[in-house]
């Protein structure tokens, strides 16, 4: 009988937890309001409130063990939020790169820019395709770009430590295609010269990328003349004149990809159809927004899975810690609870009171953990060799409100499980036994 009861509780618990994790905030708010109303308006509710009051007032005497619940849950939430923030920051950086009204054209079947090659003839055809926007001089806003990798010494490494950076050779229209990118220091490179402008992220990561410095790319020495900021994946790149970079890397007149500004987002289909029906071409067309978002999919999935796995294992540890503490708390107050029941308090208020106490501790833990994660990790810069590029992608940890909310929900779920069984025990223990208990 007891076994069946426990099994039933477990099943209900599993379902409740699943639903709980999916709940949006307004439903949670509604639940809280309903619960508060129950407490304020019904007799049982008022009883529960007074029992909770007694429990909370004695918390001080159980400070040590109660703080275990708080700190345990804070640990879980902190680690979970930090790990999720890493995936979030990574995905965000790539997902806000590009737009729906610019297209990227690569050789058919290329998974990424770096494995694509387009020859000069194809580029000319692509430039003249319908759907491409034109500037005031009626020139198509198109940039044939070339992507290569270069090794540069990294900033905080030991001497000789080199990292890979993506070098992009761009045409003069590149800036019109990427309105986000702005020169923030120094000046623009001059076409035909061995001059470079570097992204802010790249500048942070690699040594010697200040305007006025020289760096070695390929077999040539280049001058860094400016710094640009774009707030997205381009921030981790170094830009130079496409023709000069193609010469340095012996790519002739071929390019890796063509970026094209479209007349509007709807022109993509026209543009795509025109290129697909042209027998001279075998290319893939996508919006830049789509292309960069797709690059982030695999990696951010891995990061998210990692966060949730680690978080879950830690949560199991914390749940049992909370259970322990609350069992001890119930045992310590067994006589008090039994007395309450003996003078007419029913089971429900007792259960609610114990649960509320644990949930409050859990909430506190969740807030502390989230706050710590936010204080320590928000804006923390990390970098990784990104899929589909040949260079380091710098990104910052982003502790978003939605992540904090997710962390709080985890905290409350842990508190719920940790409080439920001790609460049931408190309510079900025979009054006579409990009164005799030490």
């Amino acid at each position: 009988m007891t076994f069946l009861f426990n099994l039933l509780v477990l099943v209900i618990l599993a379902v409740a937890l699943y639903v709980w994790v999916q709940l949006p905030w307004f439903v949670v708010l509604a639940l809280v309001v309903v619960f508060a109303a129950w407490m304020a308006l019904t007799r049982r509710g008022r009883q529960a409130a007074s029992v909770t009051g007694v429990g909370v007032s004695t918390l001080k005497q159980r400070l040590g063990s109660s703080s275990v619940v708080v700190i345990g849950i804070a640990g879980v939430v902190g680690v979970l939020v930090a790990l999720l923030a890493m995936g979030e920051g990574y995905a965000e950086t790539l997902q806000k790169t590009g737009s729906t009204d610019t297209a990227i054209v690569m050789r058919g079947g290329s998974a990424a820019e770096v494995s694509s090659v387009l020859n000069h003839d194809s580029i000319v055809v692509i430039e003249q395709a319908p759907g491409v926007a034109r500037d005031k001089q009626n020139k198509p806003i198109v940039s044939g770009e070339i992507v290569v990798a270069a090794n540069l010494p990294v900033n905080d490494g030991t001497p000789g430590d080199e990292g890979s950076v993506q070098v992009r050779g761009v045409g003069e229209q590149a800036w019109a295609l990427r309105p986000n990118a702005k020169i923030v220091a120094g000046r623009m490179f001059q076409p035909g010269m061995r001059e470079l402008v570097v992204g802010q992220g790249a500048q942070r990561q690699f040594v010697g990328l200040q305007p006025g410095h020289e760096v070695k790319l390929g077999t040539q020495t280049w001058n860094v003349v400016g710094v640009f900021a774009s707030g997205d994946a381009y921030d981790s790149e170094i830009w130079g004149d496409a023709n000069v970079i193609a010469d340095t890397y012996r790519r002739g007149s071929s390019r890796t990809s063509v970026f094209a500004k479209l007349t509007d987002a709807k022109a993509l289909d026209t543009f795509k159809a025109a290129l697909a029906s042209d027998p001279r071409l075998q290319v893939d067309v996508d919006t830049t927004l789509n292309y960069f978002s797709k690059q982030s999919e695999g990696m951010s999935k891995v990061m998210r899975i990692m966060g949730i796995t680690v978080g879950s294992i830690m949560a199991i540890g914390a749940i049992f810690g909370a259970l322990n503490t609350m069992f001890a708390a119930v045992a310590a107050r067994a006589r008090e609870i039994a007395t309450l029941r003996a003078i007419g308090f029913r089971g429900v208020p007792v259960v609610v009171a114990v649960m509320l106490e644990t949930m409050m501790l859990a909430l506190l833990g969740g807030v502390v953990g989230g706050l710590l994660a936010w204080l320590i990790f928000n804006g923390w810069t990390a970098s990784t060799l990104a899929a589909g590029t040949t260079g380091q992608l710098a990104f910052t940890f982003r502790v978003t409100p939605s992540l904090l909310w997710e962390g709080l929900k985890w905290a409350l779920a842990i508190g719920f499980v940790g409080g439920l069984f001790p609460a049931l025990r408190a309510a079900r223990l025979p009054v006579t036994t409990a009164l005799r208990e030490l």
Partner: protein, 389 residues
């Protein structure tokens, strides 16, 4: 040891509490086991004795730049060099362009540089005899249910064939069995003939270039000099090289992926801090509850130090029990994690070093959390304790 049964009985005096605590500890050490596996897998890569004998020579410009094939002959005559092999990145994918398979086009003697990767003699011969033959890692064979003799299609996302098609077909003639965890990634790899690749690829795509050279040196202690000598060959040319030991090359590659150590370290820190608190709290409770029992023990003639060590032993035993269960679980789960990551993570099972580090941690944590309760038990005044004061 004499009092083991007594300690054991004390430990399970309150079954529920002890079991709950054990689960907490087990969860923490499960996490420790998994994270340590990740750390060691990054640590170990290329670090075997054989790995130290191998040098990797790649383009100094960047990892996507290639080197001329003729360089191999010059490297071969550098003093201290035993043998040279080369390889090129092929960029294979199976069935779907996003389903990447690590595929290298390699020179005929490439596999000789890796004695830790076993290939049976007749399969090796079949490989040499078959132009389109490939050697496939054992994990990969399992994953796609391939068998020796199968013909498999691979898409390259870089290289088209002469006829412009990027679909290539290969014959599986042998299986690569990595026998050392430092070369475990060869279980996920496909090796093809560089010569066939260079002949069949569309004109203008490869031009006899190779991606990197793998050199074996005669004497590990001379590896640095040999590396310098190799780099000196192409100094100031348009294909300058960078030569590193395999371990150094892998380490710098891993560093670029992410700062694994820092992340792993901070997670473990958070976990163990939490664990310390949970167990410490339980031990405090346990000792507080047993005040009178401990007083009886002392009355019977147990020394102060005896009581101290019994309480300490109890907490160490508890952490050890939970910890061993946790790491054991990790050892069971890790193969599953590696399998479900689809080759992205290739974790070694919990090794001897992880076990010993784990057990050292368990002992340390057990002593730390037992310290205060044990101290209290030792200082216990018999008269006060028996009176319940």
């Amino acid at each position: 040891m004499k009092y083991l049964h007594l300690i054991w009985a004390a430990l399970f005096r309150r079954k529920t509490r002890t079991v709950l605590t054990l689960v907490s500890i087990a969860a923490a050490f499960l996490l420790f086991g998994m994270l340590d596996a990740v750390r060691t897998s990054f640590d170990q890569a290329g670090k075997s004795a054989n790995g130290a004998q191998r040098l990797q020579t790649g383009s100094k410009l960047s990892f996507i730049d290639t080197l001329p094939q003729g360089l191999g002959e010059k490297i071969a005559v550098v003093s201290g060099v035993k043998s040279v092999a080369y390889a090129n990145w092929f960029g294979g994918a199976y069935q779907d362009p996003h389903n990447q398979v690590f595929t290298f086009a390699v020179s005929d003697n490439y596999i000789d540089q890796y004695p830790e990767v076993a290939v049976s003699a007749d399969q090796r011969k079949a490989y040499v005899d078959t132009r389109t033959g490939v050697l496939v890692g054992e994990k990969l064979m399992e994953k796609y249910h391939w068998k020796v003799g199968d013909q498999i299609p691979l898409q390259s996302n870089i290289f088209p064939q002469q006829n412009g098609s990027k679909n290539w077909t290969f014959n599986i003639v042998g299986v690569l069995h990595p026998t050392d965890s430092s070369v475990a990634f060869y279980g996920q790899m496909i090796l093809m003939h560089w010569k066939y690749f260079d002949d069949a690829v569309m004109k203008g795509y490869n031009n006899g270039q190779v991606g990197w050279y793998v050199t074996r040196v005669n004497d590990v202690n001379q590896a640095d000099q040999v590396a310098k000598a190799i780099d000196a060959i192409s100094a100031n040319s348009d294909h300058e090289t960078r030569t590193q030991t395999e371990a150094a090359a892998t380490a710098s590659w891993m560093k670029q992926l992410a700062n694994i150590g820092l992340i792993v370290g901070s997670i473990m820190g958070a976990v163990f801090f939490t664990l310390l608190l949970l167990t410490g709290n339980t031990m405090m409770q346990a000792v507080r509850e047993r005040t009178s029992e401990l007083a009886v023990l002392k009355t019977l003639g147990f020394s102060d130090r005896g009581v101290l060590s019994m309480v300490l032993a109890e907490s160490v035993l508890m952490v050890l029990l939970g910890g061993v269960i946790g790491i054991g679980l990790a050892a069971l789960l890790i193969p599953g994690v590696s399998a479900s990551s689809g080759g992205f993570l290739n974790l070694p099972t919990v090794g001897a070093s992880s076990w010993s580090l784990g057990i050292a941690l368990m002992l340390a944590i057990g002593l730390v959390v037992g310290a205060i309760p044990a101290w209290r038990a030792m200082r216990l005044n018999i008269v006060d304790a028996l009176a319940g004061r």
